[in-house]
Symmetry: C2
Subunit: 410 residues, 2 copies
């Protein structure tokens, strides 16, 4: 009978938390010395679990099962944001480790292969998703040569400092790796709001990030009548209001859009702003809806420019990220396990955040399992998940893993 | 017959422009070495005009007529903004000098007394209106002890550097100074838009400067559904829209309000802003209307706070400046002179900008005469006024000055 060991799971999560612990949170930036300490500890725990562990040439910790494939690949990331929570990606990595151990301890599953990964730099301290991108064979040479962290340290120098220059890079084995279920905390408040314990991810949303600049005429705020102003700041407020209206007409309940930054030039009390900049991001699970939002935005920009008083220019900040649909069969396995262990306490949902699974899904069938985040908080020291949810999530993931492996062997 | 000398007027303005000339503009910050060079040159020109010139203990250049009072006080300021225009306050100072000369050259007016001033630091490099405030006896000791410029230089050190420590401070002589007509460029586009050549100022508008902070909840921009967000940036946009509506209902054609700065915290693509700050300024000639705008703002803040989702807090940035009404008799004199020399080409108007006249008006009857600014531009290198308007403005000011002095002597 397959059984995870909750005490061992929680002990490992708590031990991992000690690397970079800062109050209730964790600061464990990719390739920092505490991050490397954590990686070495993790590799040791993988070896103790019977996996063959390595830290590869970009810093990914990879524990390869000694069993023959087909293999399940389970993992996530143990690096954190500058103000990170203790679970975030760590949860999925330790779930993978615990599932590998649990399967090995069970008569009926001990022949199954589970390879466990902690992908380097999911959080983009140097270059987002570096580990998973390297693993699937995406080009990362540019990042290896030029990427820097906030302090200006080159990725290459950080890898040298970590002693990883010359280490082999782990690569996908298409004959072996047949499914990638990634467990993660939800990072939002949806499961909590709905009173659910498990989320089965249907899609990782697509993201558009755009910078807009409105240009008017800088003027004296005392001597320029309202009627003749070309106030770029006032125009931006009007623009956002009209954009909100257009987006609301297109959105469904899961569509999100955010104006994260506004800057008025020159930014003083006494000057009518001559230019106004905004950062705009929108996310949705539907590529079609993202295109409709882009079209609405383009139409609004045309309207403003046609009026002639204020110029609007838009530039992409990041290349668009398309929505990534999770594998239906894998979703079904997770849903079956959730219904078996927590009847009625799970739901399907999109992932509003990005994850390594969106990189790997282009090469291996992938899916995700979420556990609730207390108060919907993440990327914050106070991020947490109820212990009962941590344990339940691993039980569901282990059951799903066994069933997926059974179906692969069949 | 009273006649100004247009060539001499323009030559002096052009010579003054050479001190700090930067392209077509001027950079002549208070007490800088070019500013002091300009003050010494100006004092020399005043002496040549028969005035007794001094540079006082705060840097004001004061040319006292050798004639007995009652005297007219004419002046403005020769310091500039960091990106200043060549006319701005310089126009009024050189008008004063030229009027003193013209009156002295005319048989019927040579006994009239005109004292000419270039008040230090109208632009607030160290402390706004320092010269006029010192002149009328306002407390400036705090500024003398603690005021600094942008580079952190103490006002006291700058005065020492300029060799002014120990110099007497010029003070108002209430028995002598009976009227203060201040000529200035308009700094706005109203005269140009109306096809007029002279503005007779009715009121210097009052100003309110306020900082507002809206507080919501910082959140992940991907995982936080729109329905549960407490987005301080989105709330700010809604707040400004409602404020605009409320202000439009109160405003007349001359009321102005400006959101000059917006900052969202933390200001990135992927984070729902937890706080939003704005700078708000509004100006009007009517104290009652300013109070109505304040009341509308307070009501809006109460509404937002009552909804409970977003907190709004407001702080004064600067003490409120009350509107200052210009002396009616002096306005009539300027209007008479304008109608005589440019029939139908003048209009009454408020001053949307602040001027030394608002300080002096509390002690001596004051008024202002404006000449048009090309394109309404000021505080910019390209600020300019048509030569014909520069000359006409001085002719009108000279005629008004003679008539005011005649009425004072009568």
């Amino acid at each position: 009978m397959l059984k995870i060991n909750p005490a061992r799971l929680l002990d490992d999560l708590r031990h991992l938390r000690t690397f970079g612990a800062t109050g209730p949170g964790v600061v464990r930036l990719s390739l920092s010395s505490v991050d490397m300490d954590a990686r070495r500890w993790l590799a040791g725990r993988m070896n103790e679990a019977g996996l063959a562990a390595t830290i590869d040439g970009v810093g990914t910790v990879f524990g390869r099962s000694r069993n023959a494939g087909p293999a399940l690949l389970i993992g996530s990331h143990t690096d954190t944001q500058p103000t990170g929570g203790w679970l975030d990606g760590a949860l999925g990595v330790i779930y993978g480790l615990e599932i590998a151990r649990a399967l090995a301890e069970c008569e009926t599953t001990r022949h199954f292969a589970v390879d466990v990964a902690s992908w380097i730099d999911e959080e983009g301290t140097f270059s987002g998703f570096l580990g998973s991108r390297s693993f699937v064979g995406e080009a990362v040479d540019e990042a290896l040569r030029h990427a820097r962290n906030r302090e200006g340290v080159l990725l290459g120098d950080a890898l040298a400092q970590a002693g990883l220059i010359g280490a082999a890079r782990v690569r996908i084995d298409r004959a072996r790796h047949k499914a990638y279920p990634e467990p993660h905390i939800e990072q939002g408040g949806r499961l909590e709001a709905h009173g659910k314990s498990i989320g089965v991810v249907t899609t990782i949303v697509g993201i558009r990030e755009l910078k807009l600049r409105l240009t008017g005429q800088r003027n004296h705020a005392g001597t320029t009548p309202m009627s003749i102003r070309r106030d770029a700041g006032a125009a931006l407020v009007a623009f956002i209001a009209r954009m909100d209206e257009a987006f609301r007409a297109i959105a469904d309940a899961d569509t999100v859009w955010t104006v994260g930054r506004i800057e008025l030039d020159p930014g003083s009390f006494s000057v009518v702003p001559g230019a106004a900049d905004m950062y705009l991001q929108f996310r949705d699970a539907s590529a079609e809806r993202l295109r409709a939002m882009e079209a609405a935005l383009a139409a609004l920009i045309r309207d403003f420019n046609a009026e002639g008083k204020i110029g609007v220019a838009m530039t992409d900040s990041e290349p668009p990220e398309a929505p990534v649909v999770m594998d239906a069969a894998l979703q079904a396995h997770i849903a079956e396990a959730a219904e078996a262990l927590a009847p009625g306490q799970w739901e399907r949902m999109p992932s509003g955040a990005s994850h390594d699974a969106q990189v790997i899904a282009h090469h291996v069938p992938a899916c995700m399992l979420f556990v609730p985040s207390i108060g919907g908080v993440s990327h914050d020291f106070i991020e947490d998940t109820a212990e009962s949810h941590i344990v339940l999530g691993c039980e569901v993931a282990a059951r799903a893993a066994a069933n997926i492996l059974a179906s692969l062997s069949a």
